[in-house]
């Protein structure tokens, strides 16, 4: 269980995250939605501790993680892997090395300086890539891959960390619909098969509805919606996105309609708003 209590993050006068409290049970797939600047990225970065909270606390399985330092902090980051909108791979390294970077936390100084990874880890990396259908690119340089492929490599790296939680910051925002579907399917599979908690920032309502067990809506740093996809009514969505923002959030869903929203298509909802 990941518990967040009254979490704050201020940048000067901007309250990027404002008094957020959440309880996320293990194995849940959570979608975080909201307008640009709502604080979605900041929330994930606080959980992974890439950013320091201004106030509040984060605990995992009862352990306080918002005050961890040094080795413990790094160990927490390893257990709480993260993928990014821009993939954040090391371009000049080949794919397999990028995936092996997920093991850094398990290595000492000398091993990592000399880039010594065990045979077991190399095999593990190949399996992780295989699972995402990327093993054939193992020896290619990361920057020779397409965006969708890079994101899959990033997921493989995240899996190498043997994480309890996977944080995904707009993982499909720079991908075309087909690649977006591949990446979202992979995240859902990892969530279902491994029982890894997934917290995923998403731009579009449709994707969140299609893939997540639970949706959290943020607005100006605050949580303004928290519930199942079914309970996310048009009114609730309007509160999250604002009146003009809602149109945008839905119109973007047209491009991602191939994501296969399960039952009702995007059309009726668009009609309802219009």
């Amino acid at each position: 269980m990941l518990q967040i209590h009254h979490l704050d993050k201020h940048f000067g006068t901007v309250r990027a995250v404002d008094d957020v409290s959440l309880q996320i049970p293990n194995g849940q797939m959570v979608g975080v939605i909201g307008r640009s600047g709502a604080g979605k990225s900041t929330l994930l970065r606080l959980i992974n501790r890439l950013a320091e909270p201004t106030g509040g606390s984060i605990t995992f399985e009862g352990q306080e993680v918002s005050t961890l330092k040094g080795r413990d902090l790094m160990a927490w980051r390893a257990r709480c892997s993260m993928i990014f909108q821009q993939f954040n791979l090391v371009n000049r390294l080949d794919v397999i090395t990028n995936v092996l970077l997920g093991r850094l936390n398990y290595h000492g100084f000398l091993d990592s300086m000399l880039k010594r990874f065990s045979l077991a880890e190399r095999a593990m990396a190949i399996y992780a890539l295989d699972r995402l259908d990327m093993a054939q690119t193992a020896l290619q340089r990361a920057d020779t891959l397409s965006g969708g492929q890079q994101q899959r490599v990033a997921i493989a790296r995240a899996l190498m960390q043997e994480p309890r939680i996977l944080l995904a910051d707009e993982p499909i925002a720079s991908l075309d619909p087909r690649n977006a579907a591949v990446v979202m399917d992979a995240l859902r599979a990892i969530n279902k098969e491994e029982g890894i908690t997934v917290v995923c920032n998403l731009h579009t309502l449709d994707t969140a509805r299609a893939y997540c067990d639970r949706i959290i809506g943020m607005q100006a740093g605050r949580v303004v919606f928290d519930g199942t996809p079914d309970s996310l009514t048009t009114d609730a969505a309007r509160e999250i996105y604002g009146v003009d923002g809602l149109d945008e959030a839905l119109s973007e869903s047209v491009t991602s309609s191939s994501l296969g929203s399960p039952d009702d298509g995007a059309e009726p909802r668009r009609a309802a708003v219009a």
Binding site: A75, F84, V90, L104, F109
Partner: protein
């Protein structure tokens, strides 16, 4: 144009006089500057004793030197082994000096980078120290080291190490400051330590830049190592200056040609290596 009367002109000139006549202050300022420059040049000509006589006399002697450079006398009796050893020494000095300076610069380049050591005080101290190493010319370091460790290549190597550590560290640190943050954040998010972040986040990005800069400096050091020899710090320069002192212009010309050839070869090689580095798969 015809519609502009004299009265219009006067009226406009009254409102914006500076558009019609340059301000007197400016005109006089410019004149004073011109006079000052001419006076200064005249003074220099007088102080340096530059006369037509000397210029043409010099030209005549210059012609003589050039003439003796082209006519190679007793070519087969020249001390080729001495010359070649000197040349090898020069290249060796440049290679050793640049390599060792590069190793120091990897560490100092990171320390001097703002995004690695954000402490303003430390940053300032390191930068000023590097400026000191760099600001004093290699040639002056060579004179110092010849005094300290005696004539020969060691003094040359040491002087290259010192001044290039300053230059390369500065260049390296700029490369480090210009890295792309995203991969580093990616590495950081996996729970990597500081050193691991430098090793896998920074180094792959900066290494090709480091290498190509060092190659470039190796090339330029081969040239400057020649001068180091002239002040006694070993290498081909020593051979060259000895021959110039006794006016063996033909042999001096031969040595200069060899140096040009060597520099050209190194230039071509390093260009080729630099091209390969840019597209390299993994580091």
């Amino acid at each position: 144009m015809t519609s502009v009367s004299d009265a219009d002109i006067r009226a406009a000139a009254e409102r914006f006089p500076d558009v019609f006549h340059e301000p007197t202050r400016l005109v006089w300022g410019r004149r004073a500057l011109a006079v000052g420059m001419i006076a200064y040049f005249a003074f220099c000509v007088w102080a340096f004793d530059i006369t037509f006589e000397r210029l043409f006399g010099g030209l005549h002697k210059m012609g003589h030197v050039l003439y003796s450079m082209v006519i190679w006398k007793d070519f087969l009796t020249w001390d080729f082994s001495g010359i070649l050893i000197g040349l090898a020494e020069t290249v060796g000095m440049a290679l050793l000096g640049t390599t060792i300076a590069s190793l120091f610069a990897i560490v100092l380049g990171f320390v001097a980078a703002k995004n690695v050591v954000p402490n303003r005080f430390v940053h300032h101290i390191v930068r000023r120290f590097l400026d000191l190493l760099r600001g004093v010319d290699t040639l002056i370091w060579a004179l110092v080291f010849v005094r300290a460790v005696g004539l020969g290549p060691l003094a040359g190597v040491l002087s290259i190490i010192v001044s290039d550590t300053g230059t390369l560290s500065k260049l390296y640190s700029e490369a480090v400051e210009n890295v792309d943050r995203k991969p580093i954040e990616g590495v950081r998010s996996t729970g990597a330590s500081h050193m691991q972040r430098y090793r896998f986040g920074f180094l792959p990005q900066v290494m090709p830049v480091f290498l190509s800069m060092s190659l470039y400096w190796f090339e330029s050091n081969t040239r400057s190592a020649t001068i180091l020899g002239i002040v006694g710090a070993g290498g081909i320069g020593m051979q060259l200056s000895e021959r110039m002192k006794v006016q063996y212009w033909d042999q001096a010309a031969f040595i200069i040609l060899l140096i040009l050839l060597t520099v050209a070869i190194i230039d071509t090689l390093s260009k080729w290596i630099r091209m390969r580095l840019i597209g390299k798969r993994e580091l």
